[in-house]
């Protein structure tokens, strides 16, 4: 296991990101007996994620698979039964990864109005300290970027957004906020997103969005889907 410096990532990112041992080989590990996690090698970028999306499409055709959950440049596959030969599963997954052609998902564009700063931006001062930027610059850098939904997870409808400017990278907190409100606009490492539930949260809040993004009674409960494009619109800036 080595940590490699990614081209654009900041000094902090290179220290904290865990990267597979080589740049060319994916890594497969198991969680319990039925679930296997494939982690793409190399950089945390759209190129790797497009191959993860392709791999996800491939494994959907596997009849012995119960679920597959795309993550951030990784894919968790859950088999219906504990495989007899776990090594064969690893080989099969790695082969599917090698053969996975990059695909792009045709997503929609979602615009999320945000109140930057204010009472919910509890971690903005710390982010200014870490980055050496003013709060205004942090906010501008955050809303000027265009993000892609890489994956959903952690809470119902929560989208992991890629495209954060490395200048406003901030690691997850060592001690999570105990009751971060639903709607907080947050940064966790090189990822950003909007909290979907009020509760413990290790990400760093810089603003608030009140858009409803999950409805369990809908045929498509989650507003976001992998491949979607997200823009944050500064509805208000309270600094």
């Amino acid at each position: 296991m080595i940590a490699t410096t990614t081209r654009h990532a900041s000094r902090h990112a290179s220290q904290r990101e865990i990267v597979p041992a080589t740049q060319s080989r994916a890594r497969v590990s198991s969680i319990g007996a039925r679930s296997f996690l494939l982690e793409a090698p190399g950089e945390f970028d759209l190129i790797a994620q497009r191959r993860i999306w392709a791999l996800s499409q491939t494994v959907k055709g596997w009849t012995d698979l119960a679920e597959n959950i795309p993550g951030m440049t990784n894919l968790l596959v859950i088999f219906k039964e504990t495989p007899e030969d776990p090594d064969a599963v690893v080989t099969r997954l790695l082969e599917a990864w090698e053969n996975a052609q990059s695909i792009d998902l045709n997503g929609k564009t979602i615009e999320i109005p945000v109140t930057y700063g204010g009472e919910h931006a509890t971690d903005l001062p710390a982010l200014c300290d870490l980055s050496g930027l003013s709060d205004r610059e942090v906010v501008r850098i955050h809303h000027e970027a265009t993000y892609r939904v890489f994956a959903l997870g952690s809470a119902p409808g929560f989208g992991y957004l890629h495209g954060l400017d490395p200048r406003i990278y901030m690691p997850r907190k060592t001690v999570p906020s105990l009751k971060m409100p639903k709607g907080c606009v947050t940064i966790g490492g090189m990822q950003t997103g909007v909290a979907m539930l009020t509760g413990p949260n290790g990400w760093n809040s810089i603003g608030f969005a009140s858009l409803q993004m999950f409805d369990p009674t809908s045929l498509t409960p989650a507003m976001m889907a992998p491949g979607d494009t997200v823009r944050f619109l500064p509805a208000r800036i309270e600094l």
């Binding site: 296991m1 940590a3 220290q15 904290r16 990101e17 865990i18 890594r27 590990s29 198991s30 969680i31 319990g32 007996a33 039925r34 679930s35 996690l37 982690e39 945390f44 119960a66 679920e67 597959n68 959950i69 795309p70 993550g71 951030m72 440049t73 990784n74 894919l75 968790l76 859950i78 039964e81 504990t82 495989p83 007899e84 776990p86 994956a151 959903l152 997870g153 952690s154 809470a155 119902p156 409808g157 929560f158 992991y160 690691p171 997850r172 060592t174 966790g188 490492g189 990822q191 979907m196 539930l197 509760g199 999950f214 369990p216 009674t217 409960p221 989650a222």
Partner: protein
Amino acid sequence: MIEIWESGPFNTVQDLGRSGYRDIGVSASGAMDPLAVRIGNILVGNDENAAVIEVQTFPFGLRFEQRTVFAVTGADGNPHLDGLELIPWCAYMAEPGQVLQLQQPPRLARSYVSVGGGLDIPVVMGSRSTSLRGGFGGNAGRPSVKGDRIALGEDLEIAMLPATGLAVVEPAAALREVFPAPIDGVLPIRALPAGEHDLFAGDGEAFWSQTWRISSRSDRTGYRLSGEPITPTAAIEMRSHGVVPGVIQVPPGGEPIVQMSDANTAGGYPKIAGVIECDLWRLGQARIGARLKFVRSTHAEARAVEQAVARYVDDVRQTSGMVKRALKAMA
């Protein structure tokens, strides 16, 4: 209908879980002791996945408003029907107006009340389980409270129950060979090393060798374990990835968290191990303060345990079906 007569803060409607929606961030939820739910449902003549009440805060009571077949499985909750002592893991008939009461079990954590026809609860995203975090599913997405009335599904087998009840040898006894009892009060839980196990170096060995205690900050989402903290050799932060119940993550403080039924669907903490699925019900029945030790397992062993459990469940299903059909034929 049944009416909740008495309840604590964390008793919920559960089935075997809401699988298939992890990719949009929805936890599976479902009973903490799915084996008890399967057996309870088989005893009362339901599909194994029918909705039941998971009782984890005691005392608990409910009142039957119609003739109902019911069974109490899981924790030894000292069930009483109108004050008459019942045995757990046994299907009985209740008459309208009778009250079933459960007391704090002496050893285990969770009791399950299954009723003939199942709880008639709307299916949300493929399941009747309560998602407490999401606030949906089950009984309006919240725990049961005194006065709740819950409709029951149609019970097609109600006439087939033996008058004296229908009991089963509980899994802990029937499957003693595959689920070893606690040794000196320490519950053995089988797990496989997971992705970042080797990054813990010597602390990885300490993870397997020490006795952990289930801390009071534990619930259906996860069990926090207290013990000698373990830390990886370098500060690491993972890219967010899917997780499943049973995953044992180690946050920076060094005390592991085992994700349970309401597990997050994604995580980023280093994973030291993953509990094999067949042992999760034993954790689900372990109480705050209980001590446990992780035993390194293999895929082959996990399969063997799964097969033994499947044989036991099949046996219960076939035997109870035979008894009921024989009684019906004699009637």
